[in-house]
């Protein structure tokens, strides 16, 4: 006990500095977590969160009996993996290459332009996509026809969509994401570079020996954060780009769009809480494993 008090005293200042954030998290995150019990309840307005009757595991039934649980979970994870890998590679490359340039204006302008897609909402992206890919008047098809090729019916063929969705995802997040890596590079001590220069390393060696290793902590944290959401699909993106076009669903349906379609007419609080909980638990397990692996490699890089 005494030991604990001494420890408490030693960390007093730190605890005081943490206090506002802890209070915030308790009030706005932990307290509302009580809502998780809805996953096991037959919610009614009169009963509310605690007063409604227990419903066992019935709220989970529709999802697991659908025969689609495996497919949509698999789609969710694979899409997220593809997005994580492609995004990380593109964003890091952009940041590293931009930093190496001397021209101030090119750097600034290129960065600003890359940020533009972030502001274009998925609803509008879907309009742009339709203008590109439509069978009747899309300019991709007009181009193909003018080059003497056959039209491609993108909206009636699921096999193109993993590529299409990945491209749009990379496009939308390249500016936003590369800023994080730029900031990481900017935090590298110049002296490390000077030392490399004295060693006679060429630019490519310098990038691989200094820049990338120095960016690693940021990269690992961002990876872990993405892995923490690996069972959650980007609803806005999938819903707007694919929508109710069922022909594409085998290739594009993720957990979130599936649940949305299933519950849109009867808006069942319990069932949506159940699917949410399922996703949370899987994410939790995945991130625990990933974090453990990182921790074994270097504790400084891990989330907790």
């Amino acid at each position: 006990m005494n030991k604990f008090l001494r420890k408490l005293n030693k960390n007093k200042i730190f605890l005081i500095m943490l206090a506002p954030a802890v209070v915030y998290a308790l009030l706005f995150s932990y307290l509302p977590m009580a809502g998780i019990v809805l996953a096991f309840k037959k919610y009614t307005y009169a009963g509310g969160i605690f007063g409604s009757a227990w419903n066992g595991l019935k709220n989970f039934e529709f999802f697991f009996r659908s025969g689609k649980a495996l497919l949509v979970s698999k789609n969710t994870v694979l899409y997220n993996l593809a997005f994580i890998i492609l995004n990380t590679l593109t964003q890091m490359t952009v940041a590293i290459l931009l930093v190496e340039l001397n021209g101030k204006y090119f750097k600034k302008i290129a960065q600003s332009l890359m940020f533009l897609p972030y502001f274009i909402s998925w609803v509008i992206v879907s309009v742009i996509a339709f203008n590109m890919l439509s069978n009747d008047f899309g300019f991709v098809n007009s181009f193909l026809v003018s080059m003497g090729f056959e039209k491609i019916s993108f909206y009636n063929n699921g096999k193109y969509w993993p590529v299409i969705l990945s491209i749009f995802n990379v496009w939308k997040s390249v500016g936003y994401g590369s800023v994080l890596y730029l900031a990481a590079i900017m935090g590298i001590d110049t002296e490390v570079y000077d030392a490399a220069a004295i060693d006679g390393a060429n630019v490519f060696q310098r990038i691989f020996r200094v820049t990338i290793p120095q960016m690693a902590p940021t990269m690992v944290i961002l990876l872990l954060l993405s892995i923490g959401g690996i069972f959650r699909g980007n609803f806005d993106m999938f819903y707007n780009l694919v929508g109710n076009n069922g022909i594409l669903h085998p290739a594009t349906d993720v957990i979130d769009t599936f649940t949305f379609r299933a519950l849109i007419t009867n808006n069942d609080f319990g069932m949506s809480a159940a699917v949410g909980l399922f996703q949370s638990v899987l994410c939790f397990v995945t991130v625990l494993v990933a974090n453990k692996l990182v921790n074994n490699y270097d504790p400084d890089y891990s989330l907790f």
Partner: protein, 306 residues
């Protein structure tokens, strides 16, 4: 500091020239791909609704028209007020949130803080599990009574665990020796944070600050839930409401067999959406170069040490 910070001043060899060429081509291509759709959005916003629906988008406005903008700015006073609310909210929110998140991240990054992993987990856990909208809404309206209160717009975005952990990773890149040196000089933790850590963190603060500002700037959801007084609407919510009302109304007309519902109003929807994007994007685009200078020139630890 100058632009050669990152290259150590030796970038004149063939290797550097090759790299520059790659960089210009690669980044130039990506920037172009990002620009074109935006140009299409801008030109669509200056087109007539009719032309857009007939022939789709182009790089230049079709049948030039200001219809969409005149719909957006139909009530200029409301827009001005909404802008003011959003700007103030973004300003306050960003400063408070940035301070809160950096202070927390600093503590979690300190290796001599005994419970840093425990607390990191405590915060991270909240990103995995949440209780849904109902309990949160009850908390905000029935217990905190924040309906039609600006705090309802400020609080939800005040603390982001993602930003916290990203900030933590940036702080951990600062050599421990610097912090211990400050301690030996007799600095308290707060003093160390302000006089040693903050100056070193400029690019990180700019980045996370930008993200927080964007989150406040783009947030319409909190306003939808908690603000019903139209004098208090922030910009995004005002515009969101405007466009989506017309859209949703047309959808209901379509699904609703009864002719009792008044016939559709003839208002621009596509071009209005585009104009809205331009209106909300503009100011942030102007602000961005201010933030950018921290990405173009970094900091030198040696300089801080000296």
């Amino acid at each position: 500091m100058n632009d050669q910070t990152r290259t150590g001043g030796i970038s004149n060899g063939l290797d550097a020239k090759v790299l520059h060429a790659i960089s210009y081509v690669f980044n130039g291509a990506i920037a172009l791909v990002c620009l074109i759709p935006f140009v299409m959005v801008v030109s669509a916003s200056f087109s007539s609704e009719d032309a857009i629906s007939k022939t789709g988008f182009g790089l230049l406005p079709k049948d030039f028209s200001l219809e969409a903008y005149s719909t957006v700015f139909a009530e200029p006073m409301i827009i001005v007020r909404a802008y003011a609310v959003t700007v103030l909210l973004t300003l306050c929110g960003t400063l408070i949130a940035l301070f809160l998140q950096t202070m927390t991240a600093y503590v979690l990054s300190r290796k001599d803080f005994a419970w840093r992993n425990g607390f990191s987990f405590f915060f991270y856990f909240t990103t995995l599990f949440n209780g849904g909208l109902v309990p949160y809404y009850l908390l905000m309206t029935q217990y905190l009574h924040l309906k039609n209160n600006y705090l309802a717009l400020l609080l939800p975005l005040l603390f982001s665990v993602y930003n916290l952990l990203i900030m933590k990773s940036y702080i951990m890149a600062i050599p421990d020796s610097l912090i211990y040196a400050a301690k030996i000089d007799g600095c308290g933790e707060m003093r160390t944070l302000f006089s040693v850590v903050f100056p070193m963190l400029k690019p990180a603060l700019a980045t996370v600050g930008l993200f927080i500002a964007l989150a406040y700037w783009n947030d319409w959801y909190s306003a939808m839930l908690y603000i019903s007084n139209d004098k208090m609407y922030p910009l995004q919510y005002f515009l969101y409401n405007k466009v989506n009302n017309i859209e949703a109304y047309k959808k209901i007309l379509e699904s609703h067999a009864g002719s009792g519902v008044a016939a559709a109003i003839n208002m621009p929807t596509q071009t209005l959406k585009m104009a809205l994007t331009v209106v909300v994007t503009g100011p942030i685009i102007l602000l961005y170069p201010l933030v950018q200078k921290y990405y173009v020139q970094g900091i030198t630890i040696g300089a801080v040490k000296g």
